[in-house]
């Protein structure tokens, strides 16, 4: 079976399960059981319909990852399987009991811890951006002190050379590209974009430029990786705030 055939079959399988299990209040064929009961606020969302048009992935994680969700009212769901669609900036949940893929309402989510391979978990939080793109976005919390460091995973559609679309047919000239956007948040809540270079950090503190330069050098921070940014944030927290 070619790639297109496999995808069509798997999509059909998902919808068949959904047709049998998902229900409006009562389904005599497949009634809900007490496993659906919880004292927590019920997770709400829409049917997930997204169809990728281009090559490249729109997900931060291709596999369904175990996650622990915390809702805005403090309720906690310990055992859910999610994907983060970084193109739509939506969290997608697989509801095993009803066999449906649901795009969770962003308004009810506060934060979530998502497995990022080999038992390690990354903390993601819903944050209101006061700048373009304004609104609520899920960001990866890299450092959570009085000064915070956020990483916003964003997939964008970028132009590229023409290629043949194996799935939908025809020719395409764009692809999905995963972008990493770092933001440092000061104790007063102000948000500043930084990048993987020393200059972007030093520009934020023109008066302490010299001190910071010395501290970065002394701590061997080269601004090559996210870990370097975390260390730099810690130094800023300790020395400046």
């Amino acid at each position: 079976m070619n790639v297109r055939g496999k995808i069509v079959m798997s999509v059909l399988a998902v919808f068949m399960v959904a047709a049998v299990s998902a229900q409006q209040f009562y389904n005599s064929v497949n009634p809900l059981t007490t496993a659906s009961n919880t004292l927590n606020y019920k997770l709400t969302g829409n049917q997930y319909y997204f169809w990728p048009k281009y090559i490249g992935s729109v997900y931060l994680n291709e596999e369904w990852c175990h996650a622990k969700l915390e809702l805005e009212n403090g309720d906690i769901y310990e055992d859910v399987y999610v994907k983060l669609n970084t193109y739509l900036d939506e969290m997608i949940m697989y509801n095993e009991r009803v066999g449906s893929v649901i795009s969770l309402d962003k308004t009810i989510i506060h934060e979530f811890e998502m497995e990022q391979g080999y038992g390690t978990y990354g903390l993601f939080r819903k944050v209101n951006f006061d700048r373009i793109p304004k609104g609520y976005h899920y960001v990866n919390v890299l450092y959570d002190g009085s000064v915070k460091l956020y990483l916003w995973h964003k997939t964008e559609v970028v132009k590229r050379s023409l290629y043949k679309d194996e799935i939908h047919g025809g020719m395409r000239d764009s692809e999905y590209k995963h972008m990493l956007n770092y933001y440092i948040i000061f104790p007063d809540g102000s948000m500043n974009k930084v990048s993987l270079d020393r200059r972007s950090f030093l520009q934020l503190f023109p008066e302490q430029r010299r001190t910071l330069k010395r501290l970065f050098r002394r701590n061997k921070i080269h601004f090559y990786t996210a870990t370097d940014l975390v260390q730099a944030t810690k130094i800023i927290e300790e020395e400046i705030f």
């Binding site: 998902a22 229900q23 409006q24 209040f25 009562y26 005599s28 009634p31 809900l32 059981t33 007490t34 659906s36 009961n37 919880t38 004292l39 606020y41 019920k42 997770l43 709400t44 969302g45 829409n46 049917q47 319909y49 805005e72 009212n73 509801n95 009991r97 009803v98 449906s100 649901i102 309402d105 308004t107 009810i108």
Partner: protein
């Protein structure tokens, strides 16, 4: 041989004892109740303070239920009080129709009600009925089970004099020893007229033994919320209905909806958080083959063992005192009128900005358009994307599906003032004059494990639930949630209008979380003559309750 056997048995029993001692015992919750009076007249409101102790702070409930029972264990009323940091205050009205006699106030948490071994705090109150003219005997609980509070000499209560006139200001100086205060978590000061036979009720508590522990459908420690549970029965044979989907809805501008699937015994439960006052709860049960059901809610009163009582003739002093408080109550009602507490008010803190169906795709306000007489016209002219059809005596509603660029094949979730509607004909007579707002969601929506092919939510101008009561498998309940929080309304100071008689029996009441040793208090005596007792209760951090009191005369 015997010696060897004895050694082995000694060895085994010491291991057993070690195991028993090392098994962690489940933290027991202990609740103390302190009413403001031990004597009430029917129609009065008894105010009380609560202290909750639990060695495991994480497991401690902050909701305490207080119920009023008579000596035959008939439940009169119950309130649920929200506590903060282990303390709380509440009030329980004494019904006007209550007969004269001794009544029990029992305070318990849901955890205590489900634990057979828990010790329930019980206090007694003498109630005089305003309309009973002749009082002779009361059934008094035997003092054998009484646990007296410890009298403390560390608390000094001083007044300027011993005898006071009616309406005179009393200045009280409190002096509590620092080492006692250091171990005190709360100080409650009360001053009021009391009769000698009631003093015991005011300075002791009676542990009540459980008759039967309530089996909780789900392990829950009530924190800022109450558990609402009940049972679904078949309307035909009264058998419990398992796997029925029970929907709870509370109409509001942002409606509340939840669901629960009944277990094998037909039991369902909901946890209502931050709900204060009396809720208009609508419960709908959906079972296999549309089986008609009936829904019962559990009241969750605590059932204590029946008290051992002895009949006691009232002596002359008690009779005179009883008659005087009844007369005083009569005149108070005559001059001040009745203050009936509004039990219908309800407030529920919103957990999220939007209703459970999220942000609507579109909101319509039909009132802004031309007058249309019925829903068919409203849907055709105003509600774009809503397909309402009446054909061959059958009414159907379908919504546009934005995800699939077509119309859903199934009925959407239809809500009328936040309550699910299963018969679309309910909407038929509604015109633009009746509808305040319509929220529509043109997407497949999930709520927990339920899914809906779009949502049509209609809010009427005149929010009436009359249509709900006629439906089968539906129950409409006025459910008491957490008690609306109110501050004590004791007039501790001079009453302005001296022409109106003042027959207050509780003259002063205050609660202090911290005191620095000395405190001056002031209150004014009422027009009632008799002994007024100034009582100071110290609730110790180690759960001991100490008290001290001073009697002054009001002539």
């Amino acid at each position: 041989m015997n010696e060897k056997f004895g050694n082995i048995s000694l060895y085994l029993s010491s291991i057993l004892l070690l195991i028993v001692l090392t098994i962690p015992t489940k933290a027991q919750e202990q609740i103390y109740l302190f009413p403001d009076r031990s004597l009430a007249v029917s129609g009065d409101t008894i105010w009380f303070s609560i202290s909750v102790f639990n060695s495991e702070q994480e497991e401690m409930s902050n909701v305490v239920h207080v119920q009023l029972d008579n000596m035959e264990n008939t439940h009169i009323s119950k309130v649920s009080v929200l506590c903060d940091n282990g303390t709380g205050t509440g009030y329980i009205p004494v019904p006007d129709s209550l007969s004269s006699g001794i009544y029990a106030l029992r305070a318990f948490s849901l955890i205590q009600n489900s634990n057979y071994e828990s010790e329930v705090n019980q206090r007694f109150v003498t109630v005089y009925n305003r309309f009973e003219e002749e009082l002779f005997t009361f059934d008094f609980p035997l003092p054998e089970n009484e646990i007296k509070y410890q009298y403390s000499t560390a608390v000094h209560i001083e007044t300027e004099k011993e005898d006071y006139k009616k309406g005179e200001e009393v200045v009280v100086s409190l002096d509590i020893l620092q080492d006692v205060l250091a171990n005190t978590s709360q100080v409650i000061v009360t001053a009021g007229l009391e009769e000698a036979s009631n003093v015991d009720f005011a300075t002791s508590w009676y542990p009540a033994a459980h008759k039967s522990a309530v089996k909780l459908p789900v392990p829950v420690v009530e924190k800022n919320g109450i558990l609402v549970s009940g049972k679904v029965h078949s309307a035909e044979d009264n058998q419990p209905v398992p796997n029925a989907v029970v929907i709870l809805s509370i109409p509001d501008s942002i409606p509340y909806l939840d669901y629960c699937v009944s277990d094998s015994f037909g039991v369902f439960y909901f946890y209502l958080r931050n709900a204060f006052g009396t809720a208009d709860i609508v419960l709908q049960a959906l079972a296999k083959n549309s089986m008609p059901c009936t829904i019962d809610l559990f009241e969750d009163y605590i059932d204590a063992d029946r008290l051992v009582v002895s009949e006691k003739m009232l002596n002359h002093e008690e009779l005179v005192f009883g008659e005087s408080v009844i007369k005083a109550s009569y005149f108070t009602k005559l001059f001040s009128g009745y203050k009936i507490e509004s039990s219908r008010s309800f407030a529920m803190q919103r957990q999220f900005r939007h209703p459970f169906y999220g942000e609507p795709t579109k909101t319509f306000y039909p009132d802004l358009f031309v007058d249309l007489p019925d829903f068919q016209d409203v849907s055709r002219e105003i509600l774009h994307g809503v397909q309402y059809r009446e054909r061959k005596g059958e009414t159907t509603i379908r919504l546009l599906n934005l995800g699939g660029d077509a119309v859903f094949k199934e009925e959407p979730l239809k809500l009328l003032d936040g309550i699910p509607v299963f018969d679309p004909e309910v909407f038929a007579p509604m015109g633009t004059d009746d509808i305040a707002r319509v929220d529509v969601v043109y997407e497949k929506k999930f709520f927990g494990d339920l899914s809906f092919s779009g949502i049509l939510s209609i809010y009427t101008k005149n929010r009436s639930l009359s249509w709900v009561d006629v439906n089968q498998s539906t129950g409409h309940f006025e459910y008491p949630c957490l008690q609306m929080q109110k501050t004590w309304s004791f007039k501790n100071h001079d009453v302005d209008n001296t022409h109106i008689p003042n027959f207050r029996r509780v003259l002063y009441r205050n609660k202090f979380d911290s005191l620095n040793g000395k405190k001056e208090l002031r209150f004014v005596t009422s027009d009632l003559k008799g002994d007024a007792i100034i009582r100071v209760i110290l609730i110790q951090k180690d759960q001991k309750v100490l008290y001290s009191q001073k009697i002054i005369k009001v002539e």
